[in-house]
Homo-oligomer: 153 residues x 4
């Protein structure tokens, strides 16, 4: 991977995850990104609890994390298809990226101390990207999976 590509990937993590106010509010942090896989992580906190009988993550936190990591992976798809020589040009493209739709399947209760949302590309093109996501806890237990369609063109 060339220097520019590495720099662009780092910019995606910064622009798509760390700079977004809502992510700060929930504690989502950029973890890593490559051509194949993007990961963000966040720690359990009292304010992320949905079911207070069971002390588990709110479904909305789960879908937010999955949408976030899915959109970031779609941005990598944009980067792969449009090798950006200028970060400013990439910023412009990323500012227009948006989620068209997402399906989330909640498989197991959101119990854990640390959570990892991971995304992989299913399809990229000049107009849309389709991404598969999953949420696991620190013991690699799969809590939810999702599929998202993103407008990238």
């Amino acid at each position: 991977m060339g220097f520019l590509k590495t720099k662009a990937l780092a910019a995606i993590g910064e622009l798509m995850v760390n700079k977004i106010p809502f992510n700060h509010h929930l504690g989502f942090e950029f973890d890593s990104v490559s051509d194949d896989l993007c990961i963000i992580h966040f720690a359990m906190k009292p304010e992320l609890v949905g079911n207070y009988f069971q002390g588990i993550l709110h479904g909305g936190v789960i879908s937010a994390a999955l949408d976030m990591v899915g959109g970031t992976m779609a941005a990598v798809g944009v980067l792969n298809d449009n090798p950006a020589t200028h970060i400013s040009k990439l910023k412009n493209k990323l500012s227009k990226l948006s989620t068209i739709d997402i399906r989330v399947d909640y498989l197991r209760p959101g119990k854990g101390k640390m959570f990892y949302a991971k995304a992989r590309l299913l399809r990229t093109g000049s107009k849309i990207a389709v991404v598969r996501m999953e949420l696991v806890n620190e013991q690699e237990m799969q809590i939810a999976v999702a599929t998202g369609t993103y407008l990238v063109g």
Copy 2:
């Protein structure tokens, strides 16, 4: 509607929306509920912004609000099918209600000052409920729609 039913509906709003930590964190508030329609609302705040280029709601806020109102409507379906004479019995049933899956379609940018998430039942039964949701702003512009399946039995 009898006195007990009215009281039970009020309990659903309290138990399913206002008492949940994540909802406080985002500013989601119970608005109203009937046999046909459940509404929650929340105001725009800087920490709910996803796309800071455009100053619009994060997709995760949208899906969280839609899942929240959908689950509350599913709880009303539980109430309709199991007329609860004791609030404690209802509480027990509601503590087990969970989202199986949800699909969210993001139709327009989340611009506005106040947002309303609304839900209507498509199907109820002894095991699952299927609910349709939508998010509109204070000008009734439709921002997103969703369909959710909930485990109620």
Copy 3:
């Protein structure tokens, strides 16, 4: 509605429904189309049965009919956004229209003598269209609902 628009709408019904081999195989027939609503219909036949214990429609027939009517409605969206003065130009656009994704919710058993698949536009744009569909029987009982995203650009 002008003469050309009427002619183009009729062409959509012919091109998108009646000419497709699979639709003949299942008995799907174009019913009607307007700017707001597209309808196709088909009769119950032994070869469309999925659950032979109950004699009801196969889920695949339901999703095929819903996808078909959804795509036809998306084509109307293309027409609305690109007033075609030449049918040949419209044909070219329609030949590229494709389903990105679809969610189908099966609400009730597919019992009936005649079925109607109906579609309404949720969103249109230069690149994608989002459509809501439903399947009802001859007694207007709602058997399934769906949401589809179509690539139109």
Copy 4:
């Protein structure tokens, strides 16, 4: 795997795929099933064509095959959770199995001579099963993926 389990798995293939009229109509045939994976296959035929400009599979054929193999895999989940000592008892359970909802993502045009629909379990329980499916052609090109929720209890 015991003799009864093997016999029960074979019965699932026969009951869930080969005996269904719609499957005969489309040419779907049971291929193989194990605890982890279920496969059905079908050959390209003129009557399965959707886009006659391009000679590719109709989206409805794809979603029908994916729903079919998903439901069959859900049946295996039922079998795993309820070791059936009598085929008649299993038949009774399977006759009540139904699709709650399905999402299909169409990734690439349905070109090929032979198609394989494959399913794997994501989650099983006493009430619902969640299944992941994919359609590939004879060259293992992935044409579509899907996620389905099935009522099994």
